[in-house]
C-alpha cells in the first residue's frame, strides 16, 4: 500500500523511527527568539540562465518580494535589481514572505553554481 514510485522506475518503502520533517533546515526554525531570524540554504527555482552566467559563487543577492497574479513570490535579485531566480518549494516560505512584508532584510549569498543550479544561503542582514 505504501510503496510509492519516486523516479522513472524507483520505489519507496515505509520508514520508521523519528520524523525527519522535525529536523528542519528550511526557512522555519525551532523555537526562534524571533521567527524572522532565518538562516537556510536552498536552490533557486526558475533561474534566469543568461543572468546566472554573469555571477559567481560568493556573490551576494538581495531578497525581495514580487507579485505573481494575486500571490507574492520571494525572488533573489542581482546588483542591478534583475531577478536571478525564485525561492520556492521550501518549508517556511510563507514566514519568509511575512517577514519581508514587515521590513526584515535578507541577503542570499551564492554558495554554488552548477549548470542551471544555483544554491544560495539566505540570512537576515538587518540585525
Amino acid at each position: 500500500m505504501f510503496v510509492r514510485e519516486v523516479g522513472m522506475s524507483g520505489n519507496s518503502s515505509p520508514g520508521s523511527g523519528n520524523d525527519p520533517a522535525k529536523k528542519r533546515k528550511g526557512a522555519k526554525r525551532e523555537d526562534p527568539a524571533d521567527r524572522c531570524d532565518l538562516d537556510f540554504s536552498a536552490d533557486l527555482s526558475a533561474v534566469n540562465l543568461s543572468l546566472l552566467r554573469t555571477l559567481d559563487a560568493g556573490d551576494v543577492l538581495s531578497v525581495d518580494r514580487a507579485s505573481v497574479g494575486s500571490l507574492e513570490a520571494v525572488v533573489c535579485k542581482g546588483p542591478k535589481g534583475e531577478v536571478i531566480g525564485t525561492l520556492a518549494a521550501i518549508e517556511g516560505l510563507a514566514v519568509l514572505l511575512d517577514c519581508l512584508r514587515r521590513g526584515v532584510v535578507y541577503s542570499a549569498k551564492i554558495i554554488r553554481i552548477h549548470g542551471a543550479t544555483c544554491t544560495v544561503r539566505v540570512r537576515r542582514t538587518d540585525k
Binding site: 510509492r4 522513472m8 522506475s9 540554504s41 536552498a42 536552490d43 516560505l93 510563507a94
Partner: protein
C-alpha cells in the same frame, strides 16, 4: 492543465537537499511555462499549506490545498536510493474531486482524486495492486496510463503481453511504460507500439524524474494533442533536462534537436 497529486517533504542526505515537492507540486512547477496557469489539487500537512500555495504562485500556478494533520515525508540516502516514507502508517483522507478538460492524476498515499476530464493521464505511482482509473468513479473520454516497470509487471503487463491486451487491461487508449535508463515504450489502442529513447544529461538528480515524465507527457499528448509516441519522446527529453540539477520549470522541448540520445532502447 489541472494536476491532482501529492505535496510532500522530500529529504536527501547526499547531496544535502530538502524541499517541499511531491508528485503534484513538482509536476505543477514543471509545466508552469508549458501550460501557464496550471492548477494543482492536493492535500498537504496543515503547516505547509501556505508554503505550497505561495510556491505554486511563484511559478504562476494556483494550488487548491486540502489541509491534513500528518506531515508526510520521503527520505533518500542519495538520489538513486529507495525512498523511506514517514509516517509509515497514514490516514486515508476523503477523496478530492477534480473536473476539467485536461487532467493529470497521480496516485496518493494519503487519499485519492476522483477525476472527470475530457482527456486524462493517470500515473498511479504504486507498485502495490494496480487500481484502475475508473474504479473510484473517475471518467475520461480519452485516457493514457503511465506506469513504471514494477507497476507494469504487477498488472501482468510484462514483455510478451500483446499491445491490444495491454491497453484493454488498463481501459486506456494509450499505455506508456517507463523503463528508467532504457527509455520507455508506448502502446496504443490501434495495436501499435513504439520504443522511446532516453536522452543524455550532464548529471543526474533522479528524485522526481518520473513525475516530470508524466507531467510533460500530459502536456504534449493530452493538452496539445500530439501523437503519443512524439509526446513520450518529448517527455523523455524533458526528463533529461530536469535531472540535470532538478531544473524547474521545464522549457518547451518541441523544437529541441540538440540533445543527444543515450542510445537505442
Amino acid at each position: 492543465v489541472i494536476i491532482a497529486g501529492g505535496s510532500y517533504l522530500e529529504i536527501c542526505s547526499r547531496p544535502d537537499w530538502r524541499r517541499l515537492f511531491g508528485s503534484g507540486l513538482r509536476a505543477t512547477c514543471a509545466v508552469a511555462h508549458l501550460s501557464p496557469g496550471a492548477k494543482l489539487h492536493t492535500y498537504s500537512f496543515k503547516d505547509w499549506k501556505d508554503d505550497i500555495e505561495h510556491s505554486a504562485g511563484a511559478f504562476g500556478c494556483e494550488a487548491f490545498v486540502t489541509p491534513i494533520d500528518q506531515a508526510i515525508s520521503f527520505s533518500y540516502n542519495h538520489p538513486l536510493s529507495t525512498a523511506r516514507q514517514f509516517p509509515p502508517t497514514l490516514t486515508r483522507n476523503l477523496p478530492l474531486s477534480v473536473t476539467g478538460k485536461t487532467v493529470l492524476r497521480f496516485g496518493f498515499v494519503e487519499g485519492d482524486a476522483v477525476v472527470n476530464a475530457e482527456c486524462a493521464v493517470y500515473d498511479p505511482q504504486s507498485s502495490g495492486p494496480f487500481v484502475p482509473f475508473k474504479s473510484n468513479g473517475s471518467s475520461a473520454l480519452h485516457l493514457a496510463v503511465v506506469l513504471n516497470e514494477d507497476e507494469a509487471a504487477a498488472t501482468g503487463s510484462e514483455a510478451g503481453t500483446s499491445t491490444r491486451e495491454l491497453v484493454e487491461r488498463h481501459g486506456a487508449e494509450i499505455v506508456v511504460i517507463k523503463r528508467g535508463p532504457h527509455g520507455a515504450t508506448v502502446y496504443s489502442q490501434d495495436g501499435t507500439s513504439s520504443d522511446i529513447r532516453p536522452y543524455l544529461s550532464d548529471s543526474v538528480f533522479k528524485i522526481g524524474s518520473g513525475d516530470v515524465f508524466s507531467a510533460a507527457f500530459a502536456i504534449y499528448w493530452a493538452e496539445r494533442g500530439m501523437d503519443a509516441g512524439r509526446a513520450a519522446d518529448l517527455a523523455s527529453r524533458s526528463v533529461a533536462q530536469f535531472v540535470d540539477g532538478h531544473a524547474l520549470p521545464l522549457h518547451d522541448v518541441a523544437h529541441d534537436v540538440g540533445r543527444r540520445s543515450a542510445g537505442v532502447p
